[in-house]
């Protein structure tokens, strides 16, 4: 009876609610968390009523009409999947097909390493999840190490290693004066780090700068890292998306593999297959031999199990269907090239517009940089003006998501950038 009344909201007597109503909240001292700098931009953009607003914040591809794109190869894959698949748990290490296809894509279709089963690999929750698995793995088996991350890097890298309990150090990367690579700084920092440090490298289309080492520079980096015995972890979120060619975008990784490095690799299908919300990726660790790969994979699974048990199915089915079918894979390669080409075209157009407007500042970095993002070199104050005066939304580090530009707004944006940088 008491229970009935309790559930109906009538309290018979005080004793039936002992303790509960007279305590204050356990969580009242919690501080409001700062807004995520990247995702917060989109929130602000959505709230803006201006008809001229432009979102060059989040790194998600848009077509020339500013619309999100679902690739045709993905739509076809989904048509094949729907109604035909059970929804059972995947193994802790995820879909074997997804992993196989991912390794072929990254390490090479005919890679001996794959044939020799030397790569420990598990499906992960996109690039974030892959990095997080590795960070937790690093903390568990090398608890006294740090991770060296480039300056700057994707902001969430800091959060991932921090929440995994791995201290973070940085290495020089971006050269503000040239808006290019600080190569000598980078090489010095690699050399001065204690032997056997862990280094996070962006395989292509560095986020947020768009500045990548040249092939020759990658070879130097590889050899210096080798000389110091460092562990190279690649974060590859843009394979195919940077140059339009997945093979070409994997060049840095192939150089390291040729040099004999035992790499770690986080792959994401968010951008290159447009599967952002599906959270599909892969973490791999190249081992000495098949036996070690089995051991490493089993340990990675032990990290996944208390985090989410096993990874989500749908995105994995989409990727393995696309990559596993020659026709669909061919279609994908065409579609990813279209995306990359549009972005490269926008870079050219933006730069030309700025130069034609008569800007006295140098803008060749716009076309020198590659991938989704351009590090414009604008200051936070200039960015704030872009937002408040022109309703253009981007992160305050001056990073422009090129995917947010299209033939309809590139002139407007060029003009706005020209205006706010005029006095520089």
């Amino acid at each position: 009876m008491a229970i009935h009344n309790l559930l109906n909201g009538q309290f018979l007597n005080r004793s039936s609610v002992i303790g509960a109503r007279f305590m204050s909240s356990w969580f009242r001292n919690i501080q409001p968390a700062p807004k995520d700098p990247i995702l917060g931009v989109t929130e602000a953009f959505l709230a803006d009523q201006s008809p001229n607003k432009v979102n060059v914040g989040v790194g998600a591809y848009r077509d020339d009409n500013g619309k999100p794109v679902v690739l045709e190869c993905v739509r076809e894959a989904e048509r094949r999947i729907a109604g035909n698949q059970f929804m059972e748990y995947l193994p802790m290490g995820g879909s074997i097909h997804l992993v196989e296809e991912s390794l072929k894509l990254a390490y090479g279709e005919n890679s001996e390493l794959i044939k020799d089963k030397r790569i420990a690999a598990v499906q992960a929750l996109s690039g974030t999840g892959a990095c997080r698995l590795f960070a937790a793995f690093q903390q568990r088996f090398h608890p006294n190490t740090q991770i060296y991350i480039p300056v700057p890097t994707w902001a969430n890298h800091h959060n991932i290693w921090r929440d995994s309990g791995v201290p973070i150090k940085t290495f020089r990367y971006y050269h503000p004066e040239s808006k290019g690579l600080d190569f000598s700084g980078l090489m010095d920092d690699i050399m001065n780090a204690p032997d056997g440090s862990f280094f996070l490298l962006h395989a292509c289309a560095h986020n947020p700068t768009g500045v990548d080492p040249s092939e020759e520079q990658w070879r130097e980096i590889s050899s210096q890292i080798k000389a110091k015995g460092h562990f190279p972890l690649f974060d590859m979120a843009y394979q195919g998306f940077a140059s339009g060619s997945p093979e070409r975008d994997a060049k840095a990784i192939r150089i390291f593999l040729d040099d004999g490095h035992l790499i770690g690799l986080a792959q994401s299908y968010a951008k290159n297959m447009g599967l952002y919300g599906q959270r599909v990726g892969c973490l791999s660790v190249l081992c000495e031999d098949a036996k070690q790969a089995v051991a490493v994979k089993s340990q990675l699974q032990l990290i996944a199990r208390p985090m989410y048990s096993n990874p989500p199915l749908h995105g994995a089915l989409v990727v393995s269907t696309v990559l596993g079918d020659p026709e669909l894979k061919k279609l994908w390669l065409q579609e990813v090239k279209v995306m990359a080409d549009r972005i490269i075209g926008m870079r050219t157009t933006l730069r030309e517009n700025l130069e034609n407007l008569g800007s006295s500042l140098p803008w060749q970095h716009i076309t020198n940089q590659i991938g989704m993002f351009c590090y414009s070199g604008m200051t936070p104050e200039q960015v704030d003006r872009l937002t408040s005066e022109f309703h253009i939304y981007m992160t305050r580090n001056g990073r422009i998501s090129m995917a947010g530009l299209n033939t309809g707004n590139v002139g407007y944006v060029a003009n706005a950038i020209y205006e706010v940088t005029k006095s520089t």
């Binding site: 305590m23 130097e220 210096q224």
Partner: protein, 466 residues
């Protein structure tokens, strides 16, 4: 075997590239020559050559930094299916993982789920953009309504924060990490026994795990006195994990009267309840009945956490759909809580997957789909209840020694048989029946056809193995 090639760097080759070559001891031309050499000489010579020119380094093909790793043991629960799959015997039974099976022993995708998948597929206006860090808004609201009741005062007062999570596991993990960061007490009490993954989830989240008595082997029922004693002596403010219904692995649930006493004790000691609800609707067949214990706690106005999973009750296992709700004292606190939950989620996986949550939201928001779902859900629950009865009857018919009434008293996916690990091994070896070594069987894996095989195995185990 070719004679070793010895390479020496010469300063006549200028290295044009890096400005750092002056400070590095290893010029780029050394590197180029050595790379070339590797292709010209065979492997046996490489080690010799390596010692002459190239300083061996841990990541360059010889010593991995992870060489010291040992192979991890199989997950005790998921490992059962691995072992089952390897068994070549034509007559084998998998009673390991708690995944529903039909009478034909097949996995089941609910019809309502298939229909929604088609709907989603045909809706070309849908895209695959990132969803918010906290997940789909309508999914979150609907999940909260499902567990707390549409008329819940906590929802009406905006005191509920709900975030989409990676099924039950992910929701528990996010909740655990949130507590480890923001709650003043780092101890969580888990029932003895509990799902094998619970201790690992909370330990890795940063909490200290303790236990409270729960299962009484003698009665194969609830050790209520022990439970009250242990929670009564818990440090003030400790977190208490409670299985909302269909306790895993035992199938033993408190009665509503016992729940009320538990609630009073928890509130009087200022303990923080954290519910794990993985079987709502699946236990009794009624979504509301299975949510009563949680609603009891919400009704007293206090705070709690609740993790929900749609793996079993909507058959969405592999899509990893779930939710974490935190009920706070006020709307202001609820919004602080949400902002901090995002900071836990972002470095874990940035944002949750869209597919499964879209299916759930579509079903929960449409009255007809919702009704169809409840019918299919009840059918699953009823089949399991019928399997319990059939197994009980089969053991009685065989005169198997012991009291087996717990099979029909326990509820939900699992039965804690009371068999020991030797008996379990025996059943696996002799009868090819796969279950976890704690004697837990998944009733969902049974069918009318296979009940007698299991009854035979249990009978043999009990009579022949101590």
């Amino acid at each position: 075997m070719r004679p070793p090639i010895i390479l020496e760097s010469t300063t006549t080759f200028s290295s044009s590239s890096s400005s750092s070559s002056s400070s590095s001891s290893y010029s780029s031309c050394d590197r180029r020559l050595n790379t070339l050499a590797r292709h010209l000489i065979d492997v046996n010579d490489q080690n010799q050559m390596a010692s002459q020119n190239i300083s061996p380094s841990p990541t360059a093909s010889s010593n991995s930094v992870f060489a010291h790793l040992t192979r991890a043991p199989e997950d005790p629960i998921l490992g059962v299916t691995v072992a089952y799959n390897k068994d070549p015997s034509p007559i084998k039974l998998n009673l390991g993982v708690g995944a529903y099976r039909t009478e034909e022993g097949k996995p089941l995708v609910l019809d309502v789920v298939r229909r929604v998948e088609q709907q989603l597929l045909n809706d070309v206006s849908r895209n695959k953009e990132y969803i918010p860090i906290v997940g789909l808004a309508d999914f979150n609201k609907l999940s909260a309504k499902l567990i707390f009741g549409a008329d819940s005062p906590a929802i009406q007062e905006n005191r509920v924060t709900t975030v989409q999570g990676l099924s039950g596991t992910g929701s528990l993990r996010v909740g655990g990490e949130f507590l480890a960061k923001h709650y003043h007490q780092r101890i969580i009490y888990l029932p003895q026994p509990t799902w094998g993954n619970h201790p690992k989830i909370f330990t890795l989240a940063g909490l200290t795990v303790k236990t409270y008595r729960y299962y009484a082997p003698a009665t194969r029922g609830l050790d209520f006195e022990g439970l009250l004693e242990d929670l009564g002596s818990a440090s003030s403010g400790s977190v208490v994990l409670l299985h909302a219904c269909a306790h895993n692995p035992t199938g033993v649930d408190p009665t509503l009267e016992q729940w009320e006493q538990i609630r009073q004790l928890i509130r009087s000691k200022s303990l923080l309840p954290f519910f794990d609800s993985a079987y709502q609707g699946f236990a009794s067949g009624s979504l509301d009945a299975d949510a009563q214990p949680i609603r009891l706690f919400v009704a007293d106005g206090g705070e709690l956490l609740a993790a929900q999973s749609y793996a079993k009750n909507m058959g969405l296992y592999g899509e990893r759909v779930g939710a974490l709700s935190i009920v706070s004292k006020s709307a202001d606190v609820a919004s602080l809580v949400e902002s901090q939950l995002k900071l836990v989620i972002r470095p874990m996986y940035s944002s949750p997957p869209i597919h499964g949550a879209s299916i759930v939201a579509a079903i929960l928001k449409d009255r007809d789909l919702f009704n169809d779902w409840t019918i299919e859900l009840k059918a699953m629950a009823d089949r399991i209840i019928s399997m319990r009865q059939q197994l009980f009857d089969a053991l009685r018919a065989r005169g198997t020694p012991g009291d087996w009434s717990h099979i029909i008293k326990q509820i939900g996916m699992f039965t804690f048989t009371g068999l020991n690990s030797e008996q379990v091994s025996f059943m696996t070896k002799e009868y090819h029946i796969y279950l976890t070594s704690d004697g837990r069987i998944s009733m969902a894996g049974l069918s009318t056809k296979t009940v007698s095989h299991l009854a035979d195995a249990i009978h043999a185990a009990v009579t022949r193995v101590a």
